[in-house]
């Protein structure tokens, strides 16, 4: 399998293929996406990504978020699309779902934008949630990292950074952690 990079156009094509497989079986699925895929699909950054991070699945009723355990039918559709487009089998993955252990960012349920790909509904996390998750992902990364670059590209306001900081600092109790978070915030402010 090729270690492919997806732009927004290809991402839409791949997600549409997953939705088509679900639709062909009379099935539906709804997932909440964060990370680079959400930023690309929102059009907030112009870069490619190599996977789709699912942080939650949404119940059939559409109101309950559940820690992602990707259903067998969705898993099958994802693998089929991986085979058919010659991409990695875990191109959609729920690794970021581990975040449920320590809690999801405040306000993650706000400002979700829904995209419909036949049998697949994709909820793109909102701006504040994406800023918060990018901030925590940037803390132990080099300034040139993709997370740091994404955070800069989002041009977060002081209010958004402060709200993100409050939640991020609850995620690591080490005494040096707040300083590390502050350094990232300073880096971002300097580049706005």
């Amino acid at each position: 399998m090729a270690d492919a990079e997806f732009n927004a156009l290809l991402l839409r094509r791949l997600l549409d293929a997953v939705g088509a497989h679900l639709e062909a079986q009379g099935l539906t699925a709804s997932v909440i996406v964060v990370g680079g895929a959400a930023l690309c699909l929102r059009g907030w950054v112009q870069r490619t990504t190599n996977d789709v991070d699912v942080i939650a699945v949404v119940s059939d009723a559409g109101d309950e978020w559940i820690q992602p355990g990707i259903s067998a039918a969705l898993e099958d559709a994802i693998k089929r699309v991986a085979r058919d487009f010659n991409i990695d089998a875990d191109w959609i993955n729920a690794t970021v779902g581990a975040q449920w252990k320590t809690g999801l960012p405040d306000g993650i349920r706000e400002d979700v934008e829904w995209l419909r790909f036949r049998g697949l509904r994709v909820g793109l996390a909102g701006r504040q949630a994406l800023i918060t998750l990018k901030l925590i992902a940037s803390v132990d990364q080099w300034p040139q990292s993709v997370h740091r670059q994404d955070l800069v590209a989002l041009l977060p306001t002081d209010e958004e950074l402060e709200r993100a900081r409050r939640w991020v600092e609850t995620q690591d109790m080490s005494p040096t952690f707040p300083d590390a978070v502050a350094r990232v915030i300073t880096h971002v402010r300097d580049r706005r």
């Binding site: 094509r13 088509a20 699309v81 058919d84």
Partner: protein, 332 residues
């Protein structure tokens, strides 16, 4: 496109079935056309005919005849194995019906497959000869079973004799793996059967581990009197040495019929549903993956899935189907 593929694969399957049935029924030349010349795989022929029996009542009639006259030369286990390559949607309980008829005709081996709703299956009797006459070279597999018993040894012999003819190269060596896939017996059964036939010096084993096998096809063609039954009578008195052998080629019919029927089912479903092209392309890939060994052995143009992603796969798949259809007609 889908409706065309569905109809072309159906026609090709039915046509191939009839040319093979004509060989088994000993009908000889019809309008100057010979019956099937490649080695008939009897279980594959039964399954393909069962899959197409709703299209033609006559296929049901010939199956009924074969269940009475020829079922004793079939392997129940092999039919079960090959059945997995055929979509159940096409067989629709046909195996149970065929087994019921064969059992009624006195072959108790079919009991475990007999059953299902057979009340709607009707067939006209007397649509074939009372006695079997395996005169056509293409009946080689059945002749060997009649002579040596139904089992892996007879089928392996048929494969090794026919493989050289298919590749137009004498002394082809075959691995246990290829032989196993070709004759649809387990690798262990094939290895055991081949080793014993080698011990009997019917076939020759290489020094490799695991060994490969070959045989002297001309010697066996002489023993089995494999020459053209339609050659002019004046040549019939020629000595065996001067008569050209007509060794029937092996054509992997269990796989070829499976591919045709699976593709027909795929095309029919695609033409009747509103499924997205990317889904149909994915299902086409499933078929190619399932029959990849057959396609490779037959040197057919397997589409490179890396070059044709998503729905783009449909075009090369269509080309492949065209090629298979031409090949089936040409190599019968």
């Amino acid at each position: 496109m889908y409706a065309t593929v569905a109809s072309r694969t159906e026609e090709a399957t039915v046509r191939a079935c009839w040319r093979q049935w004509r060989a088994l029924k000993g009908e000889g030349l019809v309008a100057g056309e010979r019956p099937a010349q490649a080695i008939i795989d009897p279980e594959a022929l039964v399954l393909a005919s069962l899959a197409m029996r709703h299209r033609e009542q006559r296929l049901r009639d010939v199956l009924w005849w074969w269940a009475h006259r020829g079922a004793r030369l079939l392997s129940v286990q092999r039919l079960k194995t090959i059945q997995t390559a055929f979509p159940e949607a096409m067989l629709q309980g046909g195996v149970g019906w065929f087994a019921s008829v064969a059992m009624t005709a006195g072959d108790a081996r079919w009991k475990k497959l007999a059953g299902g709703n057979t009340s709607e299956e009707t067939a006209r009797t007397g649509k074939g000869p009372v006695e079997l006459h395996l005169l056509e070279p293409s009946t080689l597999m059945l002749r060997l079973r009649a002579g040596f018993g139904v089992g892996a040894k007879a089928d392996l012999m048929a494969f090794l004799i026919g493989a050289s003819s298919a590749l137009q190269q004498k002394g082809i060596w075959a691995t246990e793996s290829v032989m196993s896939k070709a004759v649809s017996y387990s690798r262990a059964s094939v290895a055991r059967a081949a080793a014993e036939m080698s011990l009997a010096r019917f076939i020759e084993a290489s020094a490799d581990r695991p060994p490969m096998y070959t045989l002297d096809e001309d010697a066996w063609a002489g023993v089995l009197r494999l020459w053209d039954p339609y050659r002019p009578a004046k040549n019939a008195v020629l000595s065996e040495a001067s008569a050209p052998f007509d060794i029937p080629p092996w054509r992997f019919w269990s796989h070829a019929f499976g591919f045709l029927v699976a593709t027909h089912t795929w095309a029919q479903e695609a033409s009747q549903s509103q499924v997205a092209p990317v889904v149909n392309a994915s299902r086409a890939r499933d078929i190619v993956e399932r029959f990849k060994p057959y396609l490779a052995w037959s040197r057919l143009p397997i589409p490179d899935s890396r070059l044709h992603v998503g729905e783009q796969y449909l075009d090369p798949f269509s080309t492949l189907v065209d090629e298979v259809l031409q090949r089936v007609d040409r190599e019968l």
